[in-house]
């Protein structure tokens, strides 16, 4: 029964990672860049939700919507100001810029909200479910995380396969140049991708601080790195890959904590990533890239 408890909490943590990883993977697939600031957008989402609920006293649902709105705007703004001028630059330059953006967001949050951890009360109004005479407890947040992740995956799959913007996204990720020739606006597609990714980051942020209720300017950093790991693990650029990677990573982390060592759980997660990349250099569901000579 304890194993089941761990498994469920692994899946729920994994769902949050998956939502964050989706943002990484979509941006990578379309703009071919590692958006290191993505984790900090999560943190901003957490703070917005915190301010709306505790300072303004509005309902949790409103706070989630507000977080999504702010993060979407922020994501698009970051893209326009910092990344768009570097479309033609080497990927390392873009990466360092993203790191700069990450520093910026963390320190802006530090100024605005101070380094003191805020204790966040879960926005999820659902009570825990108790099964098997209370031996198995599933928290409301865990349930909502899994459901949110499922809805997001279904929604994204629909968006990408069925809508016009989705087709544009696929075209850009396959071949930017060809997409442009076919009349797809690269800039618009990338902006939309950032908007979607950042909105997802907001959702993930709220869920994350609901499940682990401590909010600091650095809150997004580690989950960001791990979700990024999850995206690479599943095959960066692949949406099912991000989902699979996120869930697996959550499970590995929680089971590692429970059965091996609390302190080494992160090390285990990263070790699994390394092993997977060595066996499949482009991740579990990643495409093999061909270099023509």
């Amino acid at each position: 029964m304890t194993f089941l408890t761990y498994l469920i909490s692994g899946i729920s943590l994994g769902s949050i990672y998956a939502i964050i990883a989706l943002g990484y993977t979509m941006v990578y697939g379309i703009a071919k860049m590692l958006n290191f600031a993505h984790g900090d957008v999560i943190m901003i989402g957490g703070y917005v939700s915190y301010m709306v609920t505790t300072e303004l006293g509005w309902s949790p649902l409103v706070s989630v919507l507000a977080a999504m709105a702010v993060c979407t705007l922020l994501g698009v703004l970051i893209e326009q100001l910092a990344y768009k001028p570097l479309r033609a630059a080497p990927s390392l330059a873009v990466l360092i810029t993203a790191i700069g953006v990450s520093y910026f967001l963390q320190n802006a949050a530090l100024l605005l909200f101070s380094a003191n951890p805020k204790s966040f009360s879960s926005v999820v109004p659902i009570d825990s479910i108790r099964l098997f005479e209370g031996k198995l407890v599933i928290s409301g947040t865990a349930i909502v995380a899994v459901i949110a992740c499922a809805i997001i995956i279904l929604g994204l799959t629909w968006l990408i396969n069925k809508t016009k913007i989705g087709k544009a996204m696929r075209a850009v990720s396959e071949d930017k140049h060809a997409a442009q020739l076919m009349g797809v606006s690269i800039n618009k597609t990338i902006s939309v991708t950032f908007a979607i990714g950042s909105a997802l980051a907001a959702v993930a942020g709220v869920l994350l601080v609901s499940a682990y209720p401590i909010l600091m300017p650095t809150t997004g950093a580690m989950p960001g790195i791990k979700a990024f790991t999850a995206a690479v693990f599943g095959g960066i650029g692949s949406i099912p890959g991000a989902f699979l990677g996120g869930i697996l990573l959550g499970i590995i982390e929680i089971l590692g904590k429970a059965y091996i060592s609390t302190q080494l759980s992160d090390a285990i997660v990263f070790a699994v990533l390394i092993i997977i990349l060595l066996v499949k250099p482009t991740g579990l569901l990643g495409k093999k890239v061909l270099v023509k000579v």
Binding site: P90, L95, I96, I99, V232, D266, F270, I274, L277, K292
Partner: protein
């Protein structure tokens, strides 16, 4: 030559200022860390600028060197009482240990490229941090002992001493590092790296960076030269780690985390990829700057972030770069990233 001259002149000037008592105590405290960061930046430049592969785990090697250095120094306390000599042994041990780690980690890492290589170096850096956090090392009558549960479980016996105490880090470290030692380490690092770059092996490393397929086509073993650069870079980071650690009485593993790796990477990028002198200047300025900007402590890092973004935009945006070239004709040395282009058409 200019690079050596710059370092030597800076050292002499600082020595004179120190003798005259013109250096604030805060800055004095920064002298050894600055030298360590310079060595970190110069050595990372070998991987990132010269080899053209992004490493996000350089602090991991610093960590290996730091704790190896601390343990070496503690173990040699009685047999080598002379601090300078003990420091030398500690630096060498730290360098060798980190070089060894570099080799072992390089075996899997160097099979990958680009973003995948970067993420795996990040992963190794985090693994090293986590593992060091769980290590307990002590020295007792029966020599060095290592455990993973607690300091007491090491059973060191009478007169035993815990050197590395899990998450508490290394405690009771004898501070034997000195500014002069740091200065010498910089010179040694420069000697090794500048000579390496300007030799047959260095050309091979840069050939691999510029075009891997072409390098192979002229008979250069890509694996071998990638490994050469990676191990050299790791070993020097290890020595820098030992120098850094032996400057404090306590050292924790978290000091050498992802953020430190990124900090050093920022030195390298702002100083200019492959530009060794640039790395030295960037590491110095950016380590001192926060001290100078104490008054603006709150916005300091914000400014730092904005500068970082602006410099990247200014040096890599096609239009801005053209504009800069117009206002500064004939000026070459802007930190431009040379793409490790394999030419994925």
């Amino acid at each position: 030559m200019l690079t050596y001259g710059l370092v030597i002149a800076a050292y002499i000037i600082l020595r004179i200022l120190l003798a005259g008592g013109h250096v604030s105590s805060a800055l004095q405290g920064q002298l050894v860390p600055i030298t360590a960061y310079i060595v970190m930046a110069v050595s990372l430049n070998l991987t990132v600028g010269v080899l053209g592969e992004l490493s996000l785990g350089h602090a991991g090697f610093m960590s290996v060197g730091a704790f190896t250095g601390v343990i070496t120094s503690a173990s040699l306390t009685s047999s080598v009482p002379e601090p300078a000599l003990r420091l030398l042994f500690a630096l060498i041990a730290g360098g060798i240990a980190a070089g060894l780690f570099g080799f072992l980690i390089g075996i899997p890492v160097l099979r990958l490229h680009g973003d995948y290589l970067a993420i795996v170096t990040l992963a190794f850096g985090e693994i090293i941090k986590n593992v060091v956090n769980t290590l307990y090392v002590g020295i007792g009558q029966s020599g060095l002992k290592i455990g993973m549960t607690s300091g007491n479980a090491l059973n060191l016996g009478e007169g035993g001493k815990v050197i590395l105490n899990g998450p508490m880090g290394a405690i009771g470290v004898q501070k034997i590092s000195s500014f002069t030692a740091g200065f010498i380490l910089i010179l040694v690092t420069l000697f090794i790296i500048l000579n390496l770059i300007d030799s047959r092996a260095g050309r091979a490393i840069m050939a691999v960076r510029d075009n891997k397929i072409a390098a192979e086509s002229v008979g250069i073993s890509v694996w071998r030269y990638r490994m050469t650069a990676f191990v050299t870079s790791a070993a020097l980071a290890g020595a820098a780690g030992a120098l850094y650690a032996l400057n404090y009485s306590t050292v924790i593993a978290r000091k050498f985390d992802f953020n430190t790796s990124i900090l050093v990477l920022v030195f390298v990028v702002l100083g200019g990829m492959g530009n060794i002198r640039g790395s030295i200047i960037a590491a110095t300025v950016l380590t001192i700057l926060p001290e100078v900007l104490r008054a603006f402590n709150n916005v300091r890092m914000l400014i730092y972030a904005v500068i970082l973004i602006l410099v990247m935009l200014a040096t890599n945006n096609v239009r801005l770069r053209a504009w800069f070239q117009r206002i500064r004709p004939g000026n070459g040395k802007t930190p431009v990233i040379s793409g490790g282009g394999d030419g994925h058409e």
